[in-house]
C-alpha cells in the first residue's frame, strides 16, 4: 500500500495530502506521524489538506486524533489549507474540530509553528481561547 510521505525540516514535519485518502491510508499516516514525531526531536507538524476536495467525518476524526496524539508527544499540529466548500460541509456535518489548530496556508502555518515554539519555554496551554481585547 502506498503511504503518504512525511518531510522533515529540522524539528518540523510537513505532510501534503494529495490524494483522496481511503480510510486505511489515513490511519497509516497517523501511525507514521506518531513514529516520526518520536524518532527525532519534533516540535511541530504541518498537515496540508489544500488538495482535498472532500473531508468526511472519518478524515476529520483522524485529523483531530492526530492532533491530540501529537500534543501528548509534545508536538504541535497545524492543519492548513482547508477549502471553503469543505469547511462549509464539515460545519453542516456537525464536525467543528474544536481542538485542532488551523491556518490558511503553509506559510501562515509555518509562521505559527515558529512563533509557537518560541513561546514554549514556559509550559502553556496550547488549547486556549481567542485573545481577549
Amino acid at each position: 500500500m502506498d503511504r503518504i510521505p512525511i518531510l522533515r525540516i529540522g524539528d518540523l514535519l510537513l505532510v501534503t495530502v494529495q490524494v483522496d485518502m481511503h480510510d486505511r491510508l489515513a490511519l497509516a499516516l497517523q501511525d507514521d506521524l506518531c513514529l516520526a514525531i518520536c524518532s527525532r526531536d519534533t516540535r511541530g507538524v504541518l498537515i496540508d489538506i489544500s488538495a482535498l476536495d472532500v473531508v468526511d467525518s472519518f478524515i476529520g476524526r483522524v485529523l483531530a486524533d492526530t492532533s491530540a496524539m501529537a500534543s501528548i508527544l509534545n508536538a504541535q499540529v497545524v492543519v492548513v489549507g482547508m477549502r471553503p466548500a469543505v469547511a462549509i460541509t464539515l460545519v453542516e456535518l456537525g464536525m467543528t474540530l474544536p481542538h485542532v489548530t488551523m491556518a490558511l496556508n503553509v506559510e501562515r502555518g509555518m509562521d505559527f509553528l515558529r512563533n509557537h515554539n518560541r513561546s514554549l519555554d514556559a509550559p502553556s496551554e496550547s488549547a486556549g481561547t481567542l485573545v481577549p481585547a
Binding site: 471553503p84 464536525m95 474540530l97
Partner: protein
C-alpha cells in the same frame, strides 16, 4: 417484367398524395415556397412594431426561410402527432434557439409565439389553392397543420419561459453579490458589512462569498458587521455562527461587530456559548482589535475551546 406504371398527370399526383394527408403540407410548402415566405415575412414585419420586437427585417427573413425549409423536410414524414420524434428535432432546435434568443433579449412571449402562429394565414391560403376542390382533404390538412403549428407555438413559449427564468435567477444572484460586498480593510483584514434583512438563501450566498474572499486575499481576520441588519432571528444567527466556524476551520478568525442587546439575547437563547464568539459593538472597535491581533506573535491561531 413488371407492369408499367400509368403515366402521371398532375391530377393523378394530387390524388395519390391525398392518400397520405401529411405530405399535402409538404407539397404545398414545396410548390409555393417563395410566395409563402414573402407573405409570412411581410405579415411579421407589419406586426413587429406592435409587439415591440427588436429584430431587424433581415434577421426575420433569415429565420423564416430557415424555418420553412426545416418544416418542409419534417412534414415529409408521416408523423405529425409527436413533435418529440427525431424528424422534428431540427425544427425544435431552430425554434428553441430563436425563442431563447428572444427571451434573453427581452421580447414579449406573444412576439415569440407569433413567429410560428403567423405562418397560418399565408399557408392556409395556399393549401386552399392546392386542395380547394377536395373539401374533405382540405379540412383534414388544415386541421392537422393548425394542430401542429399550435404545438410548435406552445413549445416556443416554454423555451422562452425557461430562458427568462434563467435571466431572473442570474440577476437575483448579481443583486445578492452587489448588496453584500466584501471589503479589504487592511492587509489580511476583511470586512463584510451586511445591510438589510437576511434570509436563508442570502446568508448562504454571503457565507460562500466571504470564505472564498478569505482564501483569495489570504486574510486571517474577517469582520462581519451586522449594524445594518434590523432583525437577527435564530435562523440568521445560526447561519452567522456557521460562517464563523467555517472560517475558523480555514484558519481565519471572525469578529462580529454591531452587536446589540437583542441579538445577544437571541444567541444566548440559542444556547450558543458566547465566549467562543468574538464580538464588538462597532466596526471601529472590531478593526482596532483585528489590527492589534496582527501585531501580536501569539494567539492568532489559538483554537477556540468549546466551539460547536
Amino acid at each position: 417484367m413488371a407492369p408499367r406504371a400509368p403515366a402521371r398527370t398532375p391530377q393523378l399526383t394530387a390524388q395519390l398524395s391525398s392518400a397520405v394527408p401529411t405530405s399535402r403540407l409538404a407539397s404545398t410548402l414545396a410548390s409555393h415556397h417563395n410566395q409563402i415566405l414573402e407573405d409570412w415575412t411581410r405579415e411579421q414585419v407589419s406586426t413587429r412594431r406592435d409587439l415591440n420586437d427588436s429584430l431587424t427585417e433581415l434577421d426575420l427573413r433569415e429565420h423564416c426561410a430557415e424555418f420553412l425549409q426545416l418544416l418542409r423536410t419534417a412534414a415529409e414524414s408521416d408523423n405529425f402527432a409527436n413533435i418529440g420524434a427525431p424528424e422534428w428535432a431540427p425544427v425544435l432546435a431552430l425554434l428553441g434557439r430563436l425563442s431563447r434568443d428572444r427571451g434573453l433579449r427581452g421580447s414579449s412571449p406573444s412576439a415569440t409565439a407569433s413567429f410560428v402562429l403567423s405562418i397560418k394565414r399565408p399557408l392556409f391560403a395556399r393549401l386552399g389553392t392546392d386542395f380547394g376542390s377536395n373539401a374533405g382533404a382540405l379540412l383534414e390538412t388544415v386541421w392537422t397543420t393548425t394542430d401542429l403549428l399550435d404545438r410548435l407555438g406552445l413549445y416556443t413559449t416554454e423555451v422562452f419561459q425557461a430562458a427568462r427564468e434563467e435571466v431572473i435567477a442570474r440577476q437575483h444572484d448579481e443583486m445578492l453579490e452587489l448588496s453584500t460586498p466584501v471589503v479589504r480593510l487592511w492587509d489580511g483584514i476583511l470586512a463584510l458589512p451586511m445591510i438589510g434583512t437576511l434570509d436563508s438563501s442570502r446568508t448562504q450566498v454571503v457565507m460562500e462569498a466571504l470564505l472564498t474572499k478569505i482564501v483569495e486575499t489570504e486574510s486571517d481576520v474577517a469582520i462581519i458587521d451586522i449594524t445594518g441588519v434590523p432583525v437577527v432571528d435564530t435562523l440568521v444567527a445560526q447561519h452567522l455562527l456557521k460562517t464563523v466556524t467555517a472560517a475558523r476551520l480555514m484558519g481565519a478568525d471572525c469578529i462580529i461587530s454591531g452587536m446589540r442587546p437583542q441579538i445577544a439575547q437571541t444567541i444566548v437563547h440559542l444556547g450558543i456559548d458566547l465566549g467562543s464568539l468574538t464580538t464588538r459593538a462597532t466596526l471601529k472597535d472590531a478593526f482596532k482589535l483585528a489590527l492589534s491581533r496582527r501585531g501580536t506573535d501569539l494567539g492568532t491561531f489559538a483554537p477556540a475551546a468549546g466551539q460547536g
